[in-house]
Assembly symmetry: C2
Homo-oligomer: 416 residues x 2
């Protein structure tokens, strides 16, 4: 059975996912860069090219343990007719003395040590008898053997890392090795996550029927940190004035606000919508996005600094998927990274699925370790966190597709 | 041109990579678990199954905005012959009052709100005129429509998450939604990273020829944090006694020590080897592993607590690759995760490569976004951080292969 597709256009007041992404990205600017020490710069994004102020290596040095020599002195060496030279000195790594090798002598040298003057080659210890007072050489050596020349890897002014690079372990190492004690980079954006609703109680506290334990702000704060932001967690009830006051206050100390809940279409109890609609303090758009889960969405700016505010739906799975689609690009933009679309791969469906007509589905699935197959999970309700907690992927089903069979190939977004 | 392979066995005193991994894993035990609050538990690993103490949902509730009714009361409703019922009350989410719907009436109800007594269905607001004092119903409703029943997602005693689960955003959300304010989990292992060598100077400080800026400890500390550990960074010179004292001191406050440098085969200047060999304070094995880069390796335990100590080579690329191969499994084991081998994928080589006979190579490469091709980078020297900083993958070349051509398929390990 092939995918069941409806070709007839769906008349809808819903916007495509891409339109809401574009709305978000049009309003989000990178946070201000700062000089960050290397430890603080981990995970940050370079705000400008990092260039080399020093050549690398910064001095001629030996790439092996051995003997620094005049190559001509061992030109006649062989296994049958070894050449013997007196060992005039030894240079460990970190030795900063100025040493010179006189013709007819050699100097014992360690990997990474400063090449002594006069030497034009290093003979690996394996080609010798390893002697201390004098050494026997069993083969000749080419000029420049085992020598790393000053500047051969990096010249002054070379771009070490282009602006926009995310600083992981290897990038931090390259900066350190080049002498950068700090770099101009954008630190983790400050994100305030606000869960709304009178029904929310703190996990660990007892529950009265009608109440639920707050999970969205915990989830979104963790997701923000995973996406390279720093996060604070807040809760607000159902009073629009209080919610507006809290959001306005937070807008002064955050680079992005993310609310969950209070944006649906039904009731007067949609507190985020009520708080922000028609308020002079905020400039918001609330809309329906043609997706499942997560149809009701909001985005805008709030406060004197026009801080971006992402208003996500309150069902936990809806909030999660919405964060993946809209929050992650916003974080990328704040960090100064190119906010490309989430990478999509293709995998074979291990089971059938259904999807509502006219909305793009993001179904929870388990992608096999080899990436070849993806199994849709049971429990696809937008409140069902159990399946989300077992998922490692979202299966993307196009708007016009209402069902797919096992064995068909689907688009998949891997979850971190 | 196909891969050039040597079938004749290589006589060697080197150990296979797997043997050194096994040596590491045989000595590493998970860190002690602790009750961690949810924010602290982000990234931690569950030490035992997390089970449900409360059913989910914990009370019957509405899955939509609408009206709670006796289904029988609207059985005759149609577009032509709507049924009108008085609206006796309204129940927003979070309302904990005990409300009952009398026959012949209805109660307005919001998504997630406690279902009132007597009601056996919820009519979505879209099927009504949305009235406040009285509501007109345009179609009948099945019993249980739009009702989420107590316990239908999770029953008391159900395993929410099995022990060994790494707690990301969705798992944290599931725990929170189930009322867990804290969980028994293993926090980030404490890892002390120690760079050795008199040649090391702090990045940002001026350099004298013979010295280099310290980069390995910065790199390894960042890699430890990326792999789920917490890290402290230390430097030591070339005096074995001082190094031994520092390592012994750190062994009391760390779950793992990682040194870089001082383990090669050549000189008496191999300070880690000198400090730990024959010392009663440590029980170490130094060996050659059949890999490139990173042949000289060490592993053992140190101090009264027999803290594991991973002694990595000092060339930065060697240290990085060694961390990927030996440090990451050690971190997994400390965290209580199954320390499986790094996932290996297959990709087509975009260019040729060479590899030393008898050693497994881990060459730096760039894996295309679609994962189909991988391009070996230039600058494969084990001191050349530039290529490592541009790489997103290691190309794994088997011991007996000495060259591969563009177009051949290679094993690839993605870097985080």
């Amino acid at each position: 059975m092939a995918a069941e597709v409806h070709r007839r256009p769906v008349v809808t007041d819903m916007e495509p996912v891409e339109a809401h992404v574009a709305r978000v990205l049009a309003a989000v600017r990178p946070v201000a860069p700062a000089m960050l020490g290397l430890a603080a710069a981990e995970g940050a994004v370079l705000a400008a090219d990092a260039t080399a102020a020093t050549p690398l290596p910064s001095f001629d040095n030996s790439s092996m343990d051995g003997y620094a020599v005049h190559a001509a002195d061992v030109a006649a060496a062989s296994g049958e007719g070894p050449v013997t030279l007196p060992v005039a000195d030894q240079i460990p790594a970190g030795d900063t003395r100025t040493v010179t090798v006189a013709a007819g002598t050699c100097v014992r040298i360690m990997t990474g040590a400063l090449l002594p003057g006069g030497a034009d080659a290093v003979v690996p210890v394996e080609w010798t008898d390893g002697g201390r007072a004098q050494a026997r050489f069993f083969q000749p050596v080419h000029k420049d053997n085992a020598i790393r020349h000053r500047g051969e890897d990096v010249a002054v002014g070379d771009v070490l890392l282009p602006g926009g690079t995310t600083l992981g372990p290897a990038q931090i190492a390259l900066l350190a090795a080049s002498g950068h004690g700090s770099v101009l980079a954008r630190a983790a954006p400050r994100v305030a996550v606000i869960a709304t609703g009178n029904e929310l109680t703190e996990p660990g506290a007892p529950l009265v029927p009608g109440q639920i334990w707050e999970s969205n702000a915990y989830m979104l704060a963790a997701a923000v940190r995973q996406a390279g932001g720093s996060a604070t967690r807040h809760r607000a009830g159902d009073d629009p004035g209080t919610v507006l006051a809290l959001l306005t206050e937070l807008s002064a100390v955050a680079d992005l606000l993310i609310t969950s809940g209070g944006v649906s279409m039904g009731g007067e109890h949609d507190v985020v919508k009520a708080a922000l609609s028609g308020s002079g303090a905020a400039d918001m758009t609330f809309c329906k996005v043609a997706m499942q889960p997560g149809m009701p969405q909001g985005f805008g700016v709030i406060g004197p600094g026009r801080t971006p505010l992402l208003a996500l739906p309150g069902n936990p799975v809806s909030a999660f998927v919405s964060f993946v689609l809209f929050g992650c690009p916003a974080l990328d933009a704040l960090r100064g990274r190119a906010p490309g679309p989430r990478p999509v791969r293709r995998a074979e469906l291990a089971g059938p699925l259904r999807s509502p007509r006219g909305r793009r589905s993001y179904l929870r699935g388990v992608l096999a370790p080899d990436g070849a197959t993806v199994a849709p999970l049971t429990g696809q309700g937008s409140h069902q966190l159990g399946a989300l907690a077992r998922a490692n992927a979202l299966i993307v089903v196009a708007e016009q597709v209402v069902s797919m069979a096992a064995g068909e190939t689907a688009d998949v977004i891997s979850l971190p």
